[in-house]
Symmetry: C2
Subunit: 103 residues, 2 copies
DNA sequence: TTGATATATCGAAATATTTCGACATGTAAG
DNA sequence: CTTACATGTCGAAATATTTCGATATATCAA
């Protein structure tokens, strides 16, 4: 047993924590699923198909962006979001690796 | 854009939600990391190296077990837990697949 | 410059999660 | 049977998250 409870959590797990929190919420999952392959969507489009208030959608988008699973760019008045596939790929392959080696 | 916000969340994502929630908490991550490869630990052992009260550890173990990432078996007075590697493998490979096909 | 539009942020209320100690349950030992 | 021990569950308090409407900021159009 690894008894060092207070030691630093491995880097791979640290980066994952925010991703796990972000993807562990149903509304945020639905936002992720509203993207078609390679698609960019602005906040208005995402808010329109949601059952939540615009400001709440904005809050969830912030959590997804800060976790790294979405990226965003402001174009004119609008902010476009898209899925950060490469981060997701990396995170999940890191977990898979960690699992094979240490669990 | 996939506008059907109210449609069912894909099975692969549903199963993942609980896993994500479970692994998105620092204390639960630390519990996961205290297992050496293939090891079984009982509640007392896990609680001993934790900074939390025994009943709180019990609560976190329940969440991890219900998410499927830990399995458990009662032997005598003690309940032993171990990491469900095959479930974790499956979940992460499902996400990776979904990602390649739909994102 | 004024007005309209898109988004973000703020503060408060509602809701959910975490945490603890006390108590309940199950199991083995004396 | 009684006691001791391991774990689970309960209820309440502390804390965190979610949610909303109102307001702020930034951008473009008239």
């Amino acid at each position: 047993m690894n008894k060092d409870y207070s030691r630093a959590i491995p880097r791979a797990w640290q980066d994952m924590a925010a991703v796990f929190v972000a993807l562990g919420d149903e509304h945020r999952q639905r936002i992720m699923l509203s993207f078609e392959p390679g698609e960019r969507l602005n906040v208005g489009q995402i808010a329109e198909v949601s059952t939540l208030a615009r400001s709440t959608v904005s809050h969830h988008l912030k959590i997804l962006r800060e976790a790294g699973v979405l990226e965003s760019e402001k174009i004119g008045k609008e902010v476009y979001f898209w899925v950060n596939k490469s981060l997701l790929r990396e995170v999940f392959s890191n977990v898979a690796d960690y699992l094979e080696k240490n669990a």
